[in-house]
Symmetry: C2
Subunit: 246 residues, 2 copies
DNA sequence: TGTACATAGGGTAAAAACTGCGCTAAAATA
DNA sequence: TATTTTAGCGCAGTTTTTACCCTATGTACA
């Protein structure tokens, strides 16, 4: 592929090559996908993890991953892993980054493409519990197998940025939510305190909130109104900011 | 990997596995990196492309790519490709996305991780011309080999977003540039008209511009002041926006 | 040399957005 | 019934953005 050709600029002088022959000459590597599945519960950002069954990492926490099958594209593999590990389907899933340090896996070189997903813990009761599948508060996780700490950090950063620019928070909440719940999501993920009244104004001004005529129940204080988020309207009116902002 | 284990929740009951054995059981795939190298010249966004030497795509435009070598991580591979194809090194390079459709390469399954890079055309005279390496205006490219049109589109979108949030534009300009040149970059990439005076104010208000005491020369109109961008100061003072913005 | 023309660069006024905070209402708890 | 906690309305001061004004300074060309 990289031999010097010194052709004279005309493509007639190309040394023609056959795609199949070229591909056959490439070294191949094992490929996996890992899913970083975020949820929100008890005012804390959580992530779904299992315990490794590799002797090298026995009992250490790992992300939900598996190798990519032949002829399976990465998106499909990620959806499959999520389904196999948790039983869930129809979940928002997004590619974040591909990690490729040659020594990241003790069993040899493995490259992994990482997907992140956000879902509502209450809506997705865990049906499977293999390898101690459990929700873990993100800020209490100390050690993980492989480079999964790095991956989790990367995805948490990604989430922080993402949630400010896209209405992801609503995936972490019940369909009907109070503004307090919404604010809790932002405060927990961004790790800041926001002014309640300004937050309310800001969110309302987007125009994407729908007032249900219901109120919170079983709360230990004055119940707030419940709202839904109008995803359809959002898709139509997506803001298209143009400018400089750094 | 995916057999049901139905363990009772204690990690002692894990069916322990060896990492090397697991990895050996994974199917492997050929992996490549592709570089989308953007430049700016004559008020147009351009991208560095070569012509394919595969019989299946003979003469069609392609990105700069190569297979990933054994034990080479993706970042290193991307830097190597750039160096081999263009002779350049020390270029800003960022991973954008991994493309994995099983039929994206006519020679069989190949997964590619795409990197994007931005550089100043004037600073990087092309030394190599293999496969007709040339700058092509992005908005005049019609057909490409493989899924490279899709990849280029993805990277152009990425660039549009990226340039608004990070001082990338300065990589596309000479070290000393006029505000007009800077505005031209933004207008070309974002495809908008911006108000000259407001643009100037906005950029100046960032505080990252350094006034050189030089002026433009050889321009057909009143010369503007030349500035440099203080990358060091930017790294220190990076804005850390917190809030909702969608 | 002078006039047309293009862009540079400094400004301002009004609109819009953001911020901090005061206030009252409603529910739970003791 | 008093206390505590949060909901929800509103406002005033500040900052940011927007849409323009104006003049200055260069080139091109009659």
């Amino acid at each position: 592929m990289m031999e010097s050709q010194h052709n004279n600029g005309s493509n007639r002088s190309f040394q023609e090559k056959d795609a199949a022959a070229i591909v056959k000459s490439y070294p191949t590597v094992p490929l996996t996908v890992d899913c970083v599945i975020f949820g929100f519960d008890e005012n804390a950002l959580k992530v779904l993890l299992i315990k490794s069954d590799l002797v090298q990492f026995l009992g250490k926490l790992t992300l939900l991953g598996d190798n990519v099958q032949s002829n399976e594209d990465l998106d499909t593999a990620a959806i499959r892993v999520l389904k196999q590990r948790t039983g869930m389907s129809d979940v928002y899933l997004e590619q974040v980054h591909t990690f490729s340090k040659p020594d990241r896996h003790p069993g040899g070189r493995v490259i992994t493409t990482v997907y992140a997903s956000l879902l509502n813990i209450k809506h997705h009761e865990l049906l499977l519990h293999d390898n101690e599948l459990k929700w873990h508060p993100v800020n209490q996780i100390t050690e993980m197998a492989f480079d999964h700490s790095l991956i989790l950090d990367t995805c948490t950063q990604w989430l922080r940025k993402r949630i400010q620019e896209h209405p992801l928070a609503f995936n972490l909440l019940p369909v009907k939510f109070s503004l307090r719940q919404l604010q809790n999501v932002y405060e927990a993920i961004l790790n800041v305190k926001l002014d309640r009244r300004n937050f309310r104004k800001k969110v309302a001004s987007t125009g994407f909130l729908c007032d249900t005529d219901e109120m919170e129940t079983h709360v230990t204080h004055r119940p707030g109104k419940l709202y839904t988020f109008d995803f359809k309207l959002y898709d139509q009116k997506k803001r298209n900011f143009i400018g400089i902002d750094f």
